[in-house]
Amino acid sequence: MSDFLQMTLFGLSNGAILALAALGFVLIYKATRVINFAQGHFLLVGAYAFYAAIVVLGLHWSLAVLVGVAFAATLGVLVERFVLRPMIGEEAIAVIMVTIGLSSVLGGGVQLFFGTTPRETPQFLPSGALTMAGATMPWSRVAAIGIAAAVLVTFSIFFTRTRHGIAMRAVADDQQAALTMGISVRRVFALAWALAAVTAVIGGILLADLSGVSAGLAGFGLIVFPVVILGGLDSVPGTIVGGIIIGLLVQYTAGYVGGGLEQVVPFIVLILILMVRPYGLFGQTRIERV
């Protein structure tokens, strides 16, 4: 029983971080209909920015978080301005390719500055562990759940309630028509990218706390795909549910079945669910009228 609880707790915390990482995809997709393959590298850059602020600049961790967030937001805006904007109106898949190129630039850039050696994590989340009913869970993971939940709820509200949220969705539907509404597609895009980069930094910082700062963080971007799709590409609540499902699924499979099956189980479940719900659990159906 304590094993089960143990796995559940870890599954939940992994799910929270997965959801947070997935949020970046969703933000960008929602506004720009682009899947950002560089999202994992945003995570990487964010983690290194935070690391640099703490270790190289010697800042207090709270300041370092601010520096990291500011850096990411700037990066997001710059990327939008110089890489994505010229691609407005192009085929989605060409845009995807640009983000793949971008990931290469970001990854190489990080290596240029920090080399290839993994770095120790600057510990800032509470150390120690929460023990209950025979299960132990580090406080840092508990904190991760809290932070992820707060960020996700904020964004859910943003999209359904605010004018800017609606504008973002309008742009996603029809950029030209949005322009004729005076909605600056550029500004919306810049906002989406900046926000996505910021969530990536938060995700990167949390992740770095759990697994260290190394080039490997970028790989996280791929693990997140099943989560994004399972929840529905454009649904913020979907990322939460998707994250938790996948997080738990991986833990249980690893714990009860093993044999490396946990690597494919998310994908198998993903396909099965998609066959029943082609737009994920919460994704919006594409409207096809003739």
Partner: protein, 375 residues
């Protein structure tokens, strides 16, 4: 060799061309970089010393980003440039090039220590400079057997790849053949995981007290951290690619007390053989402590190759791939100043050594438990 047009053999008195395929930006760049720097450092140091019999080593060193197709391209380029030997890196590229190097008669050393490479029947031009993964596993199991008093249980946590699984089967066979009486299970470590708690739980339920890790440092460190956080009573035994300073740095306190099986002695345990790389690095304004043991590993791998070349020249032969192979097989064991046990090859076996060191993490340092242990 089938060098094709424009190929010039490394004969005469000119520099001796050697191709190096390194991972400097790919999936294993964290350890690939210092290893590659060690190779380069040795060559530069040797050339400063006047080379081999007045002839310099001309390294052509390139990054292949852990991409097999790129390795093939580079290899083909090296063949074209008339190299006499190649230093490779990973399991994938070493496997992919095995036939080609045999056909082109180019001795090939790599950092892939799989047991399949030591048999000259199968891989006539591959030379394994360290104790194979399987030998390291055997040493680790011997250690576990004695540490536990013969009734311990081992969980092997391995990378999910040919590299990771290379010693798994041999380990199991070894326990049986030698009646070590150890429990034995294996667990794949999925790429990109943020914890191994579920796998550890399973291992714990199976009664494992020892975790042998065949993986690189970052995941191994995460595993150690998980063990510490979960207050599990398990000892980690790292083989080769996680038996290094990075593991200690990353895992911090969680690394304390764990065991490492590592054929190359780390800078923190100075031996005579460390002085050459250390002095050289100092002259470059760097230090061996910073570079770590994989630098040493690269350095002495290149050293073995250079010794082979020296032997070829000394015996009045032209420096060609096949002559170099013969030299490597026939020369005296290479002494590495106690960095490793002496390294030697012969026509029946390209297993450079069997002995390896055992270290324990103590106060953030690798401290020597024993050197030159053989299974």
């Amino acid at each position: 060799a089938c060098g094709g047009p424009g190929a010039e053999e490394g004969d005469g008195d000119g520099p001796i061309p050697i191709g190096v395929i390194s991972d400097l930006s790919g999936a294993t760049a964290d350890v690939g970089t210092p290893y590659s720097e060690g190779i380069r450092g040795y060559a530069e140091w040797l050339n400063e010393q006047g080379g081999i019999d007045g002839r310099e080593l001309d390294l052509n060193l390139n990054d292949y980003a852990y991409d097999v197709a790129r390795a093939e391209q580079l290899y083909s380029q090296y063949v074209n440039e008339g190299v006499v030997a190649v230093q490779g890196w990973g399991t994938g590229d070493t496997e992919a090039l095995r036939q080609k190097v045999a056909q082109d008669e180019l001795p090939f050393m790599s950092a892939s220590y799989a047991e399949t490479l030591v048999d000259p029947e199968e891989s006539p031009y591959n030379f394994v400079v360290a104790a194979t993964y399987s030998d390291q596993m055997r040493v680790a199991l011997d250690w576990v057997a004695s540490d536990s008093g013969g009734d311990g249980s081992v969980a092997v946590f391995h990378h999910d790849s040919p590299f990771g699984t290379a010693p798994v089967g041999d380990g199991e066979a070894y326990i049986e053949d030698n009646d070590l009486g150890l429990g034995y299970d294996s667990y794949a470590m999925p790429e990109g995981a943020t914890d191994y708690v579920a796998q550890l739980n399973r291992a714990e339920s199976a009664g494992a007290e020892y975790v042998v890790v065949q993986n690189v440092s970052s995941p191994a460190a995460m595993l150690a951290t998980n063990i510490a956080q979960q207050n599990l009573d398990m000892t980690v035994v790292c083989l080769n690619w996680c038996a290094d300073e990075q593991f200690i740095d990353l895992a911090g306190d969680a690394a304390e007390g764990h065991i490492m099986v590592q054929p190359f002695s780390p800078p923190s345990d100075p031996v005579e053989g460390h002085s050459e790389p250390a002095d050289y690095l100092e002259s470059q304004g760097e230090s061996l402590e910073d570079k770590g043991l994989h630098y040493v590993q690269g350095w002495y791998t290149m050293h073995v190759m250079a010794e082979g070349i020296r032997h070829t020249i000394d015996s009045g032969q032209e420096v060609t791939g096949s002559n170099l192979r013969d030299a490597l097989r026939s020369m005296d064991p290479v002494n590495t100043g106690e960095v490793t046990v002496p390294i030697s090859f012969d026509a029946d076996s390209h297993r450079g050594m069997e002995g390896t060191g055992i270290y324990q993490v103590d106060d953030g340092e690798m401290t020597t438990v024993e050197r030159g242990v053989t299974p």
